[in-house]
């Protein structure tokens, strides 16, 4: 029955080499930008008073670079190497491999350029504008075709567990990216999210959470299941556990998104759903961690010697820590403390630096000598990298945990008289030493990574790269007649498309049940009659707020705690955000919440905002906010307003025809009002060389800030 005719073929190492180089290069870039923004929080002058180098624009660059450039290329490096070997087949199509590689690098370069230039959708980890979103979709499809082509032309009947993780990743990321990126283009490089307010938040965090799950976790678990057995030269501890790990993980992960929105205006039931599934996640996550670590049973002596195993052990341990902490942070009582603080930053960096970073380093140290047919240039340097990197993680995480806890405690502290103990600015000043130590941690981590780059470079130079690795395997016979009843999973494994569809059904199910009721809310939501659409000028100001990445430091979501209502005013209601395309709730409070910046409690003079944006430090001593001087020189783009208003109307914002037709003159009229008010106080204004002008961008921004949270105050009390 079996035809044992051996076929000779070649593994494509060239594509793996390309992705490996890109991983190392973008890793260094992403970490460097991370270090810069960490230092900006200690020394605000490092914002250099230039729009393109300001924190609000560099922070999305850092997150996108690390997630999609560093880890993204790391995924493809791991997939292209392991997939070929596990399937005993060359990648299906070399041209597709090349399109995939160069297409992905093009996306990264475009992302880097557009983000610093201020083109952003304002949705975290999905900031890229619509043309790039389309390009991502196309390249992802190319990757999928190439992967499935390889699977279909394989010489190994069974799909090893790593490949299920790759299939699950591909299908889920495709779904997440498409659903979250549905947006209405206004112009080239400007769009508005299709969803608004609560719905936008739910979709965004369903995406954001699962970007962590299906971009930073599942593909890396696939890599773990291939490379740890390979490096340790022994099979995975429990293959049974890996099956359960896979199905439980992809099914449960997809539901946990709402834990990013606890105590917000999201309906309670959705929040609880997020919490329950997050707690359940501990089981598969820890199952996976234990499976990874126990693969090294009987080989622990080698961990002392082998730097590859060292990196992998710390990576899997960090995975275990982060996946225990995550569910803990999803408990409402813990989240009440941790949310919006640096605790979250510590948590994600245990995952990013420990799990993703160290696993990538381990794979690179294993892969480069292998593909260049040599040994590592310096084991000593690699060992130094390991220790510097580990110290870097500790110096990063510990101060941030501490800072997060202190921040939260200070925000919630009351005097015996019942007044808030601390001004927000007091808490900012308190953070500075912690931010400084964190920067040292980040610097060490970067130095370690650079040491690796040099080490691998020298390794490559001393060896000879094998672009085409010869291999032999018998042809796979189709239509095998199987006697008796087969195990179900074996059947599924043989049919990759069944696997794909099953995975899609499981993840789509979670997404739908989570989101549909909240989308129905739109029809059922009690409209707050006082909540009106933004005026044309406020809309323009809001777009500037988005452009400058204000949401990276300021939330717009007052949670129903006394400590927050005392500080910011009435807690936020779902009905207040119905016209917010996109929502701007934020996820971090490096600065104070702005949801009611224009409300009764916090309202400030126009001149205060004017001076504060020009030089925050001179108005609020000790502030670490950058200055936005270019907004005092750039002119408001009135011409784009009709298109923006029209787009908003298409999305359901009830602008009248009159407002649409006269939006420019309405905006100019409102700008004149603010200008006249500022003019009265001109001698006290911090002016740019251009002086006070009605059409400066800052006027639109002030209009938006003064509008924030005013609708509720206008509601007559019963």
């Amino acid at each position: 029955m079996e035809n044992n005719k051996l076929e000779k073929f070649y593994y494509d190492n060239n594509i793996v080499k390309h992705f490996a180089i890109a991983t190392a290069l973008w890793g260094a870039v992403g970490m460097l930008v991370g270090l810069i923004i960490a230092l900006q929080l200690v020394f605000p002058f490092l914002n250099f008073n230039i729009a393109e180098t300001t924190y609000g624009r560099l922070r999305p660059l850092h997150t996108n670079a690390v997630i999609f450039a560093f880890v993204g290329n790391g995924i493809f490096m791991g997939v292209y190497y392991s997939l070929q070997r596990l399937l005993k087949a060359r990648m299906w199509n070399d041209t597709l491999s090349k399109i995939h590689f160069w297409g992905w690098q093009l996306i990264i370069v475009l992302a880097a350029l557009t983000l610093v230039l201020g083109y952003t959708t304002g949705k975290e980890y999905a900031e890229l504008e619509w043309p790039i979103d389309i390009l991502i979709t196309l390249i992802w499809v190319v990757f999928g075709i190439n992967m499935f082509g390889t699977i279909l032309t394989r010489r190994e009947r069974h799909l090893y567990v790593a490949i299920w993780f790759f299939i699950g990743t591909w299908v889920t990321v495709a779904m997440l990216h498409i659903v979250n990126s549905i947006e209405l283009p206004v112009s080239f490089m400007k769009s508005y999210s299709w969803y608004a307010g609560v719905q936008d938040a739910l979709v965004q965090w369903w995406y954001g959470h699962n970007a962590v799950a299906f971009f930073l976790t599942t593909p890396y678990l696939g890599i773990m299941y291939y490379f740890i057995p390979k490096a340790a030269n022994r099979p995975v501890y429990s293959y049974r556990l890996s099956i359960i790990h896979f199905w439980a993980l992809i099914f449960i992960y997809i539901w946990a998104g709402p834990h990013h929105l606890l105590y917000t205006s999201l309906p309670d039931w959705a929040q609880s759903l997020g919490t329950v599934f997050s707690i359940m996640l501990i089981a598969p996550s820890w199952g996976g961690m234990i499976n990874g670590l126990l693969t090294l049973r009987g080989a622990w002596d080698r961990v002392r010697e082998d730097v590859v195993l060292k990196f992998m052990v710390v990576a899997v341990t960090a995975y275990g820590m982060a996946t225990f902490e995550g569910p803990m942070l999803s408990l409402k009582n813990v989240n009440a403390i941790s949310h919006f603080t640096d605790w979250t930053i510590a948590h994600v960096h245990v995952g990013a630096l420990g799990w993703n970073g160290f696993l990538t380093f381990g794979v690179l140290y294993w892969l480069v000598p292998k593909m260049w047919g040599t040994t590592l240039y310096s084991k000593k340097w690699a060992s130094w990298h390991f220790w510097i990197g580990t110290l870097g993680i500790l110096l990063y995480a510990i101060p941030m945990y501490w800072a997060g806890w202190m921040q939260s405690s200070m925000w919630k502290e009351f005097t015996p008289e019942g007044q808030l103990q601390y001004q927000f600015l007091d808490t900012v000043k308190f953070m500075r030493p912690f931010y400084a130590i964190r920067s040292v941690g980040g610097l060490l981590y970067l130095v370690g990574a650079l040491l690796m780059v040099v080490n691998l470079w020298k390794t490559a130079k001393q060896g000879n790269f094998v672009p085409e690795e010869a291999a032999e395997a018998p042809q796979l016979i189709k239509n095998v007649i199987v006697k008796g009843k087969e195990h179900w999973h074996r059947v599924v494994e043989r049919k990759p498309f069944t696997m794909l569809v099953l995975s899609l059904v499981l993840v789509a199910l979670g997404g739908m049940i989570e989101m549909i009721p909240t989308f129905m809310v739109k029809e059922n939501i009690p409209t707050i009659t006082a909540v009106k659409p933004y005026t044309p000028l406020e809309l323009e100001g809001r777009d500037l707020y988005i452009r400058e990445g204000c949401y990276t430091c300021h939330s717009q979501m007052i949670r129903p705690f006394r400590s927050e209502t005392e500080r910011y005013g009435e807690y936020s209601k779902a009905g207040e955000f119905v016209y917010d395309h996109p929502f701007q709730w934020g996820s971090k409070r490096t600065g104070p919440d702005l949801a009611r910046e224009g409300g009764d409690k916090l309202r400030r003079m126009n001149s205060w905002h004017y001076n504060h944006m020009m030089d925050p430090g001179s108005i609020s001593s000790g502030s670490i906010m950058p200055a936005y001087t270019w907004m005092f020189e750039n002119l408001i783009d009135y011409e784009c307003l009709p298109a923006k208003m029209k787009a908003m109307k298409t999305l359901g914002v009830p602008y009248t025809d009159d407002e649409l037709n006269n939006c420019i003159s309405l905006a100019q009229l409102q700008a004149k009002g603010i200008y006249d008010d500022l003019k009265k106080d001109e001698k006290n204004l911090l002016l740019s060389e251009d002086g006070l002008q009605q059409d400066h961008e800052i006027i639109a921004l002030i209009a938006y800030l003064q509008r924030l949270g005013t609708d509720i105050a206008l509601t007559p009390k019963k």
Binding site: Y160, N233, I243, A248, W269, H487, W488, I525
Partner: protein, 52 residues
């Protein structure tokens, strides 16, 4: 300002968490049950795939 609970206004909303719980329990139990029953030989064969 009085806000009614959004959830209450969706008809039959209580069915959603029930569906989810039921689906999860069923699928997970099935995977668990059948995986445990897999044969040792088959398990060994598959777990050695990266090493072949």
């Amino acid at each position: 300002m009085k806000f009614i609970h959004y959830l209450e206004s969706i008809s039959g909303v209580s069915i959603y968490p029930m569906i989810s719980l039921l689906l999860f329990t069923t699928i997970f139990s099935y995977v668990l049950f059948t995986t445990i029953r897999m044969k040792k030989k088959e398990i060994d064969e598959k777990s050695h795939l990266p090493l072949d």
